[in-house]
């Protein structure tokens, strides 16, 4: 297991908190009509992306689904510009043309933000192909929902990745539901991490509410992939506190189930660890809380004051 420095603990806590506050603010703006369309929140799943992020190289690539706000924040992208995309403004990462589900930052090797379930999996595999092709030591992290694990192209991608020993780390974010359908109603065989077995892809299941478990698994898997052994699958057991998207009342699950997961809140776990290890005092934690709130508030402010795209933008970016 990689050695975590004191600063790492603070970094993890700050990032997870930043994601949480961001999502809460996005929900508020959605309610105000400042954000439209579909908007999928990451609350509850923060430890997944932050844990993975602790083990990566800056030149590694990433590709994920429409549930992407947290992924971008963890990648170190500017919450102001993420929020501005959600409000459909000029300063957004996609200049207001992509919206919540379709955000990209090539500069940061962040290849989306994909709205079509499963599509990101072959794409991530192709990005990994490029790393290998170019002789780079980098890997591509490709996130997959539990629901997406029943989409055929996923298995075509697995086969290709294994066949060509591509440096791709598949991370299944198993948050127990694909929209209103629980995993057991959609998947025959609940061990999603074993679905690469037939292709010879090693897989592992991890507690995704605990960032330390995620880091440990990601570290091991990342090394395996980076050393040229081919793909690896991590299935992270996590939970989304909110509905599938803003418009989902999530009636298909019980309040007890939700409350149960909240008992193991990923942010609280890190906080407790920080206090226990005396890495920071309560006051210092409070300061982070306050600063984070402030930062996100400013981001929202920025996002609703950024101008709408110019009309002429309708016709740009169709071709290069």
């Amino acid at each position: 297991m990689m050695k975590l420095q004191k600063a790492d603990y603070i970094k993890m806590y700050s990032f997870m908190l930043k994601i949480r506050r961001f999502e809460e603010r996005a929900a508020q703006l959605y309610g105000m009509g400042k954000i439209g369309g579909f908007c999928h929140l990451y609350i509850g799943q923060e430890a997944v992306v932050v844990g993975i992020l602790m083990t990566i190289d800056k030149n590694d690539s990433v590709v994920t689904t429409y549930r992407d706000h947290g992924h971008m924040i963890a990648r170190g992208l500017d919450p102001k510009r993420i929020m501005a995309e959600l409000t459909g403004r000029e300063d957004g990462y996609s200049a207001g043309k992509g919206g919540s589900m379709h955000m990209f930052s090539k500069e940061n090797n962040f290849y989306g933000g994909h709205g079509i379930v499963g599509a990101q999996v072959p794409i991530g595999t192709g990005i990994a192909f490029t790393h290998k092709y170019n002789g780079e030591k980098n890997i591509c992290r490709t996130y997959i929902g539990d629901g997406a694990m029943n989409n055929g192209q996923v298995f075509e991608a697995f086969n290709l990745a294994a066949l060509w020993k591509l440096p791709v780390l598949y991370i299944i974010e198993n948050n127990k539901y694909g929209m209103g359908t629980s995993v057991d109603r959609a998947a025959a065989g609940l061990d999603l991490y074993k679905r690469g077995e037939a292709f010879g892809i090693p897989g592992e299941k991890v507690d995704g509410m605990n960032v330390f478990s995620v880091i440990e698994a990601a570290d091991k898997a990342g090394k395996y992939v980076r050393e040229g052994n081919g793909p690896y699958i991590i299935e992270v057991q996590t939970y989304r506190y909110r509905g599938h998207s803003m418009s989902d009342p999530a009636k298909y699950r019980t309040k007890e189930e939700l409350d149960n997961y909240k008992q193991t809140d990923p942010i609280e776990i890190v906080k407790a660890e920080i206090l226990k290890k005396k890495i920071a005092t309560n006051d210092e934690i409070e300061k982070i809380n306050k600063d984070t709130l402030e930062e996100i508030k400013n981001a929202a402010e920025f996002a609703i004051n950024s101008p709408f795209p110019k009309d002429s933008e309708l016709y740009t970016d169709v071709y290069l």
């Binding site: 439209g36 369309g37 207001g96 709205g115 209103g180 709408f308």
Partner: protein, 459 residues
Amino acid sequence: MSTEILMPALSPTMTEGNLSKWLIKKGDTVKAGDLIAEIETDKATMEVEAVDEGVVLDLLFKEGEANIPVNKAIAIIGDPNEKVEVKKEAPVEKVIEEKKIEKNIETKIETKQDDIIDTTSPKIEEDTNLSSEEITMRQALRDTMAEEMRKDNKVFVLGEEVAEYQGAYKVTQGLLQEFGKERVLDTPISEHGFTGLAVGAAFKGLRPILEFMTFNFSMQAIDHIINSAAKTLYMSGGQINCPIVFRGPNGAAAQVAAQHSQDFSSWYSQVPGLKVIAPSTPYNAKGLLRSAISDPNPVIFLENEILYGLKGPVNNDVNFSIPIGKANIEKEGKDLTIVTYSIMLQKSKEAALKLKEEYNLDAEIIDLQTLRPLDIEKILDSVKKTNRLITVEESWPFGSVGSEIANIVQRDAFDYLDSPVIKVNSADVPMPYSLSLEKLYLPQVDDIINAAKKVSYIK
């Protein structure tokens, strides 16, 4: 008896070949299966076997000779005692010639008359069996599915979130409760797989209603829709039909951006073997969905998310249907014709009101209802009366349903037109997310008015 050995076509695209090597010589005896020559095609060099037996009487080309047309005699085998006469001109280049002919014919798109049931579309104004209560389009669709499921237990529903969740847009509300989980099935997010499965079930005699959460996701299943559902009747020489309805919302919703806001009406309308329907009101949704479910062919049923909440009266007779292939004259008029379908009917009606008020233009509105087969007759009749035509639809402009209508009208009613046909479509770009750009992208009432003014030469 002698036999000619002809230059074989060794690939579907090969029209001529090079004789790279003879493996036999004059006087040899060949048996079926013996290698006789090496032929170089457009793709590879291949060996050719004899299929007939005899003595090689003559080799008509030398090794290395190039560009020998397919089906030209290259050798003659037979009985050595027989006198051989070599034909000067080798037979037929049939394959190639046929292709040429095909290209020169203008393909007329016309539905065989007997494909369309000879009835007209019932008119809501004249319907004596109209409900006093107004219901939503959502409910009209739901009720019709339930009615057909009650009549025929071969009808079943499958799709994502259609059962326990009651439909992502609540169109299948209550179906699970009434018909149970054998007939209302939640699928995993496996569009390609469950579409293929439903097509297989339809081949074998069931009548699936397959809901795409939205038609955007039908792209994952496009192969089975086009290659399996639409073509198998033809490929099986009429043996295997595919009675299936693919339904779900199509077109733009609200701010869901490029991957979730697309209109596929012209894509599907291009495909022989599919029927394509796009209802615009609860009334016609009901009548058309019934026809779709009863139809022995694959039907693409394009709903619209924004229209789900639209209310109106319906005909509650469980046998009420609207024939496929019949347009509805939504409003009669004399000055110009507006041909439209689905959600754009609403905007066209709004535009027509303003055209009357502000420009004293009396527009006739045709609601297509079915896009394939197209009700060409009604469109032509109207254009012959008004002499001006605009088409209004949400799809992209290139090769849209309006493009085909414009083509037909210029072909069959050229002399009646007083102005070029004008199409109103969405912008020729992917759908943007931002609210302001989204509005610009979609056809608006003003765009329709401007087109109407233009065909009427009003500044």
